[in-house]
């Protein structure tokens, strides 16, 4: 049993089931990110943990105690909202200690706690201002201060960075990560931004259509996606998915994908890895852009780099890398080349493909094959 247990929890509005049976268990100090496109049920799940939405069936327990029928105020949680939700009529100091006041903490203790949090977040000079006089980043800090001051069991973050501009978002992301490392608190964090999910979390739950598609560490989710949705959603640019035919020869599995010139590229997997029953059938091959590189950029530790000649359709220099487009299995495929490789559209160029990183999916079920 974990610190926060979501056991078979579902949520329905009338006949519409917005969250299907969900099981997630995290330990104390973990940073769980719920990530997915809008409407996937991630915010609903967060609100259910907060007690703002009722659980239709199943249960949620914090520290082994069922939260069924427990008011949000009594769950010992704190939440940071997307809009920050600072009380407009109170100044920053009053905003921060409102929760303590409501829980009957005496004034001197409130002030001590407020000053401690204000120091931590460097907002001491703002304590007398009204939320309306603050910038977006400052409001964000105050909202976090309001959560921190409660010293709760679980912190809930509902897309806290989505209202900030791009630069500030990256800064605050780092700051939240630092804060988590320093305070070692348990956090559940909702976002639709897969980069936020990968950088912040100790574990990620990728959600889509009211189902948890995959629950795992950032590395697991990134390297071993459970299905085509997770593969396509996590990572930027997203994973290349294209059809290929499996052939098992001499105990080795080989994927064959058509290139632009009509030739088959033959891509051997490092081993047969349970491809036997797919012999001769079509699968969807998944390769991240960084697994398709120029010859010298290929991963030297990989035992299974395979070079093919392919036609370059397009190059997109991005400063640190150059993204190179070609065709495989009739789909656009993007490779990540080193920035100073001399490659031009129209050329036929050697592409180094790291088959250790290749994943395969069943085109029918969209589930992982290997």
């Amino acid at each position: 049993m974990g610190f926060l247990d979501i056991k078979n929890a579902t949520k329905s509005y009338g006949a519409v089931k917005v969250l299907h049976e969900t099981d997630i268990s995290i330990e104390e100090g973990e940073f769980l990110v719920l990530v997915g496109p809008s409407g996937c049920g991630k915010s609903t799940l967060l609100n259910m943990i907060a007690g703002l939405e009722e659980i239709t069936t199943g249960d949620i327990a914090i520290k082994g105690q069922s939260m069924a029928g427990v008011r949000p105020a009594d769950r010992n949680i704190a939440m940071v909202f997307q809009s920050y939700a600072l009380y407009p009529n109170m100044n920053v100091g009053q905003n921060i200690v409102f929760g303590l006041e409501m829980h009957g903490v005496p004034k001197p203790e409130r002030d001590t706690a407020m000053n401690k949090v204000a120091d931590l977040l460097q907002i001491k000079h703002l304590l007398d201002r009204k939320p309306g006089q603050l910038s977006g980043g400052q409001r964000q800090r105050v909202a976090m201060g309001r959560a921190l001051v409660r010293d709760p069991d679980v912190f809930l973050f509902d897309e806290p960075l989505s209202n900030l501009d791009a630069k500030l978002r990256v800064d605050m992301r780092t700051e939240i990560k630092k804060l988590h490392q320093k305070l070692k608190t348990t956090i559940v964090y909702v976002t639709h931004d897969q980069i936020e999910a990968l950088t912040l979390s100790t574990r990620i739950a990728v959600m889509f259509g009211g189902h948890v598609q995959q629950l795992g560490t950032p590395k697991e989710v990134y390297d071993n996606p459970a299905n085509m949705f997770v593969a396509g959603f996590m990572g930027s640019p997203s994973m290349n998915l294209f059809p290929a035919r499996i052939a098992v020869e001499n105990g080795k599995a080989v994927a064959k994908a058509k290139l632009a010139d009509g030739q088959d590229a033959t891509l051997p997997f490092p081993d047969a890895r349970g491809f036997e029953r797919h012999d001769g059938r079509e699968i969807v091959l998944g390769l991240r852009p960084e697994a398709i590189t120029d010859r010298d950029g290929a991963d030297r530790n990989s035992q299974s780099v395979h070079v093919i000649e392919a036609h370059v359709d397009i190059t997109e220099p991005a400063g640190s890398d150059t993204f190179v487009g070609t065709q495989m299995g009739g789909k656009e495929v993007t490779g990540r080349f080193r920035a100073d490789v001399d490659v031009h559209p129209g050329q036929t160029f050697p592409f180094a493909i790291n088959m250790e990183k290749a994943v395969a999916f069943d085109p029918e079920t969209e589930k992982r094959v290997s």
Partner: protein
């Protein structure tokens, strides 16, 4: 050449502006004329009015008509002036406005932030209540007041106005709170605030503009109401509007027009005052409450 052209533009601009201002001034005069007649005639002896010359300024300035209207004029059968009825109106308006505003705010809060099954139907019914013609409820209301023992009393009138007022005040506050971010309420819930604490500490402090709108609207309507006042009050609980009517309509003796004018101005003064004090909030609140979104 160019300066000449500019001069022409300015001249034609001034010309059209002259026309606009003249027209506006004429309209202004037209609208202010009744007030002028009332004020002027309330300040002259009756003989001057009877001699004709309603429009002329008084030869002899006097406040006797005001004094008479306030404290000695014949209202119905007694010569009490309007004073006791003015107080009746105050005692009726203040609680009716205060209670209907607070209840409207509570209703708006519940209807937007504590949604429940059938809440839109309830709101619809409340709205419907706003548009039921007054005449339709006269007899049922009289019966009700009789049953609960409030017939012919000031509390009875307060009750009637309260019932009619809640529909509008709920409408105002509901529309205003609709714009109020629900995340704030949720944040307060997680912070541990209860139903009334959230209302008092979070909602009310942000409700200034709409409260002003509601107060002005209710005050004007209830103060100016005649029908309910005439239907549900006894002689000693009549509001100002009914007493003014009795003053003007009294069939005995000479018609003291100057006293009538003074009384009419007295009856209009409180609403005028409320507009002057809170009028700019009225427009601001209307914009914030019902127009935006």
């Amino acid at each position: 050449m160019s300066s000449n052209a500019t001069a022409t533009v300015v001249r034609t601009g001034a010309g059209s502006r002259f026309v606009i201002y003249t027209l506006l001034a004429l309209f202004c005069l037209y609208y202010l004329l009744p007030l002028y007649v009332m004020v002027v005639n309330s300040l002259k002896p009756l003989s001057e009015i009877q001699a004709g010359g309603m429009m002329s300024l008084p030869d002899v300035w006097t406040i006797a008509p005001w004094a008479s209207a306030w404290s000695t004029a014949q209202i119905g059968v007694e010569a009490t002036g309007l004073r006791p009825f003015f107080w009746n109106s105050i005692v009726m308006v203040v609680p009716a406005v205060a209670i209907s505003t607070v209840l409207g705010a509570l209703n708006g809060y519940v209807l937007t932030k504590w949604r429940f099954r059938g809440d839109t139907i309830i709101f619809g019914l409340l709205l419907f209540g706003c548009f039921i013609p007054f005449q339709m409820v006269l007899i049922p209301m009289a019966r009700m007041l009789g049953i609960v023992g409030l017939a012919g009393t000031v509390p009875g009138l307060v009750f009637v106005h309260l019932v009619y007022g809640i529909g509008f005040s709920t409408l105002y506050f509901r529309n205003y709170y609709q714009q109020f971010p629900t995340e704030l309420v949720r944040a307060a819930m997680i912070d541990g605030a209860g139903f009334f604490t959230i209302f008092r500490r979070i909602m009310l402090p942000s409700s200034g503009p709409i409260a002003v709108v509601c107060v002005i609207w209710q005050f004007t309507n209830i103060w100016n109401d005649f029908l309910f006042g005439a239907s549900f009050s006894d002689f000693d609980s009549q509001p100002m509007t009914v007493a003014l009517n009795n003053l003007v309509q009294s069939s005995t003796g000479v018609k003291e027009y100057n006293v009538h004018f003074a009384g009419a101005i007295m009856a209009a003064l409180p609403t005028l005052l409320v507009y002057i004090v809170a009028g700019r909030y009225f427009v601001r609140g209307l914009m914030a409450g019902s127009v935006k979104g």
